[in-house]
């Protein structure tokens, strides 16, 4: 399957109790701590959400919501986004990607240095991949999937666990629409993978790598999700799209 190599390595490390001091497991835990999703809290509902614009009042009480700010005991939105009253969550509709610890991103090598590689990660900030953190020898223009290992206060981004992606196609979408492309518990992306038999890796930075299978249909589905990310009932429409017409039987490199 597609990320076999990388995840194989990760699994290997985990089983051996982690080779480096900052193994993937520790990182993942840290990432989970940074964005806690408490069990039992209401989930974001696109159906009940309303569109808000910068400076729009979203609550009469001070609420620490991402992408909002508090002034004089009231909460206002800073971005154009969808605000769901019941779950108290604000999801931006537009915006650039800012790297966060633990994110999986797809980068393109823009510079080869002695100590490592500079990667374009479709963000205002470049990613740096140390030669220590990758087994592959990379060249200019290589496409790489990697995990964000560290982001400091001036946004120097360190990447790790990189592996080169060979062949396939790259699709660029808005990074704000990525959660919708992945879906709840990866349901959406798994549905596309099952229907198209393509290998798909979705980077949090809005790059999607697709290889093999019915890639044209996979691209069509992902672009549709990007266009309609803010509308309810998307899962049904995508499954309809995937079912309509004959699915290509070719499974070159598919599951």
């Amino acid at each position: 399957m597609f990320g076999e190599k990388r995840f194989g390595k990760e699994r290997f490390r985990r089983e051996r109790g982690g080779i480096s001091s900052h193994g993937p497991r520790g990182q993942r835990q840290q990432a989970a701590r940074r964005f806690p999703i408490e069990a039992g809290t209401e989930q974001f509902s696109v159906r009940n959400a309303r569109v808000v614009v910068p400076g729009e009042l979203i609550s009469q009480s001070p609420r620490p919501i991402p992408y909002a700010f508090i002034k004089d005991g009231k909460t206002y939105s800073t971005v154009m986004g969808l605000y769901d009253e019941t779950s108290g969550r604000l999801v931006p509709l537009e915006g650039c990607y800012t790297p966060k610890l633990g994110d999986i991103v797809i980068g393109i090598v823009t510079e080869v240095k002695f100590a490592g590689y500079t990667l374009n990660i479709k963000s205002p900030y470049e990613g740096f991949l140390s030669t220590k953190d990758t087994r592959d020898e990379l060249k200019l223009g290589n496409v790489v999937v990697a995990r964000v290992k560290d982001v400091d206060e001036v946004k120097n981004v360190d990447l790790t666990d990189a592996s080169r992606l060979e062949g396939g196609e790259i699709l660029e979408i808005s990074s704000m629409k990525v959660p919708r492309v992945i879906g709840k518990n990866s349901s959406m992306i798994r549905m596309i993978q099952d229907a198209t038999r393509s290998e798909i890796i979705v980077g949090r930075n809005g790059r999607v790598w697709i290889r093999g299978g019915d890639s044209a249909r996979a691209i069509e589905a992902i672009l549709k999700i990007e266009r309609e990310a803010h509308t309810p009932g998307l899962t049904d429409r995508i499954s309809m799209l995937l079912k309509s017409g004959p699915t290509s039987p070719t499974a070159s490199g598919g599951a």
């Binding site: 597609f2 696109v46 206060e153 049904d236």
Partner: protein
């Protein structure tokens, strides 16, 4: 050209009352390659605004390690007006307006969230008929919101002043050129702050206060149009997708709460 009569029987040259705005149309997201964009038709003004960024700051020595640079470029097209603005290239006036618009947005953009970067705003005047700086600023606010740049408020601007001895709002070209005084203003309505205040000509203290009040009243209307332009892009589409949704769908950060499970990008291996 001779000075025309700006006010006849309490009506202005184009038939407006003293506190009436020209017809304003705003459209967000008009350019494909820009991160955010807006197009405004404000009377006979036609202005296109493109926003790029936050992106790497070039030249690098200008980058600020604490915050993003907000750089605005106001430019009048060589064909935008019948006279005086027929030249290409930077001008004294263009440089000034670029600076004042940049400073307005420095005050509302959460620049500290994007250290070392630059946010570029390009205001391109395609057709000019007075009040282009405030019209450009109004469109730029919409374009910045469209680019997803976090801001404290959606600012808007309007010009006011005195024509033929009477206070009025939103000047056209002739009112601007032949009026006694002209005050471009920009407001943050959420806080009631004035972010831009310039003045040509002379007014008394009381007159200035009155013009600013008129500006605030007009800004309410302009702000409503800005909000409408932004929401239009999404609300309309939201209506079209009317298929019933069986469960609450979620858009949460990937790579969280997936402890112990294979990563979200991995299928059944």
């Amino acid at each position: 050209m001779e000075k025309p009569k700006l006010v006849v029987d309490g009506k202005r040259m184009d038939g407006r009352g003293m506190e009436d705005l020209r017809p304003i149309k705003i459209k967000a997201g008009v350019l494909d390659k820009a991160d955010g964009s807006a197009y405004v038709e404000w009377g006979n003004n036609k202005i296109m605004v493109a926003v790029y960024g936050p992106r790497e700051c070039i030249p690098k020595h200008e980058a600020n390690p604490y915050r993003a640079l907000v750089r605005c470029t106001y430019r009048m097209s060589p064909f935008c007006s019948i006279e005086e603005h027929g030249k290409r290239g930077p001008s004294r006036r263009g440089t000034e307006i670029s600076k004042i618009i940049s400073e307005v947005f420095e005050n509302v953009v959460f620049a500290e969230q994007f250290p070392k970067t630059a946010i570029d705003v390009f205001v391109e005047v395609l057709q000019a008929d007075g009040g282009t700086r405030v019209a450009g600023l109004t469109a730029a606010a919409v374009a910045l919101a469209d680019a997803g740049i976090p801001m404290k408020d959606l600012v808007c601007g309007v010009a006011g002043g005195k024509i033929d001895g009477q206070l009025a709002i939103d000047f056209g070209k002739y009112e601007d050129n032949f009026g006694e005084s002209d005050i471009p203003m920009a407001f943050s309505l959420r806080t009631g702050e004035i972010l831009l205040l310039q003045m040509d000509g002379l007014l008394t203290k009381e007159e200035i206060a009155r013009v600013i009040d008129m500006g605030f009243a007009a800004a309410e209307k302009i702000h409503a149009l800005q909000v409408e332009a932004l929401k239009e892009r999404y609300v309309e589409k939201k209506m079209s997708g009317a298929a019933p949704e069986p469960e609450l769908e979620e858009a949460r950060e990937p790579g969280t709460a997936q402890e112990g499970k294979p990563s979200e990008t991995q299928g059944e291996g």
